[in-house]
């Protein structure tokens, strides 16, 4: 067995040339494109990672904004509730004041109506008493409407002060109102009583006044002496009103 050294040398050179050819046209381009793909994949991964981070940041930001909106909403609700509560209190105070005012007015009105009713009742009582007295007196003789009151009138004049009594009948006849026109005897009795009480003779001018119901009324410049049912009823009514 022999070795062809030329062939050995040529094959060595051939393999070296093949090394260069394959390095130039096969391994380097393929390795380069693999590296480029890996770089692209890494870049895509990095980009995806960056996008993920950006998305997470955006989500966190949105969450923060949502929390801020919720906080603001809660604050506004609390503020509105506070305002509503204040408004409610104010309205309630206003309503209470108006109620108090209306209640006071109603109370005043009721009192006023009560008083008016009382007055009306008193008035009616007076009228009723007058009617009762009138009907009762109607059963008595007509002379009783005057004769029974002569002594009382004289006594009332007697109780007047001296100076007042002195002025009665000085300047003319004494005006005298009677529930009905007195008889001559009654006038004489009345004049006699007044003469005795005043210590001098006086003239009497009698006029009829049915509103007195029964009795007499002496009306002079210095004094008015009432001795009749109307005056009594008025006094009783006044007393009743005073006691109410």
């Amino acid at each position: 067995m022999t070795i062809d050294w030329w062939t050995l040398g040529l094959q060595t050179v051939n393999v070296l040339i093949l090394l260069w050819i394959l390095a130039r046209f096969l391994f380097r381009p393929v390795a380069k494109i693999i590296a480029e793909r890996q770089a692209a994949a890494h870049a895509a991964l990095d980009e995806a990672e960056a996008a993920k981070h950006a998305a997470e940041a955006a989500r966190a930001e949105a969450e923060a904004a949502r929390q801020a909106v919720l906080r603001e909403r809660a604050e506004k609700i609390a503020e509105v509730r506070k305002d509503a509560e204040a408004e409610k209190q104010r309205l309630m105070a206003e309503v209470q004041a108006e109620l108090d005012k209306a209640r006071g007015q109603a109370k005043d009105e009721l009192a006023r109506q009560g008083r008016a009713q009382q007055e009306a009742l008193s008035e009616q009582a007076g009228v009723l008493a007058g009617d009762i007295a009138d009907r009762l007196l109607a059963r008595l003789p007509k002379e009783a409407r005057v004769a029974g009151f002569i002594d009382g009138l004289v006594e009332a004049v007697a109780q007047l002060p001296e100076s007042t009594r002195a002025g009665i009948g000085l300047h003319g006849p004494v005006p005298l109102r009677a529930a009905q026109m007195p008889t001559e005897a009654e006038i004489a009795q009345l004049r006699a009583g007044l003469d005795t009480t005043l210590g001098r003779a006086v003239e009497i001018e009698v006029t009829e006044a049915p509103e007195l119901i029964a009795g007499l009324e002496l009306d002079t410049a210095t004094a008015i002496v009432r001795n009749h049912f109307r005056a009594d009823l008025d006094r009783i009514t006044a007393e009743v009103r005073k006691h109410d």
Binding site: L10, Q11, L18, I21, L26, F27, I34
Partner: protein
């Protein structure tokens, strides 16, 4: 039948005799060169089927180198890949009638082994420096220096003889059977020869990787670094 142990020049270029293995090697170089040029002209990020096969081939070579050397396969990718591809194509060239594979001649195998031997020196010295590389011969003790030197030579010869013996014997057996039994009988043997050729290409490339890996200092590959960092 030609004697596989002898080689006759087909023609001469000046004083240089051009033998059949050289011509076949040129044809293989041309075919591989043209194929590589055409196949890698329009590489894209989204690969075609051909590009996928090429990328699979390159990444497989890198994976094998990385696994064996436990280092960055980039400096050795072209050498190991070229050796594997050339031996594979050369072995399979026997399928073409009238063509003897260049690897069936010891000159081709010797040329490949010589290149591997030089690569071992180059990468060993480049990695460890001259003193560092020479110091590996004294490992584990200086007593081993003669044996390590002999090992360097013998393992190179083992590369030559293993490839030459397997391919040559295959060609030899097929030639004998073909001369004795007719046209279709050698076909199973030829199929077996394809397998043998593939295995021999793989063995030659892996052994070259192992020898180079033993010569260079152990450096973690970028992929390994990435794996560790993860």
């Amino acid at each position: 039948m030609d004697n596989p142990l002898s080689i006759e020049p087909l023609f001469h270029i000046g004083p240089v005799p051009i033998t059949q293995p050289v011509v076949v090697t040129w044809a293989i170089m041309l075919a591989l060169g043209v194929f590589s040029y055409v196949a890698t002209r329009h590489l894209r990020i989204v690969p075609t089927k051909t590009q996928t096969v090429l990328e699979l081939f390159v990444t497989t070579i890198e994976g094998q180198v990385r696994d064996v050397m436990n280092g960055d396969p980039k400096p050795y990718r072209t050498l190991i890949g070229t050796i594997f591809l050339f031996i594979l194509v050369a072995n399979w060239s026997s399928l073409i009638p009238g063509i003897e594979p260049p690897t069936a001649h010891i000159e081709t195998d010797a040329a490949l082994a010589l290149i591997v031997f030089v690569a071992i020196l180059r990468f060993g010295i480049g990695s460890r420096g001259v003193r560092g590389y020479l110091a590996t011969f004294a490992e584990p003790t200086w007593v081993m220096i003669p044996l390590n030197i002999v090992e360097q030579i013998t393992r190179t010869f083992s590369l030559i003889v293993r490839l030459f013996g397997n391919v040559m014997s295959g060609v030899f057996v097929i030639s004998i059977v073909l001369s004795l039994a007719g046209l279709f009988v050698p076909i199973p043997l030829m199929a077996l020869d394809l397998l043998t050729g593939t295995v021999q290409a793989y063995i030659f490339a892996i052994l070259a990787t192992v020898f180079i890996g033993a010569a260079v200092a152990e450096t973690p590959s970028p992929q390994s670094k990435e794996d560790i960092s993860q």
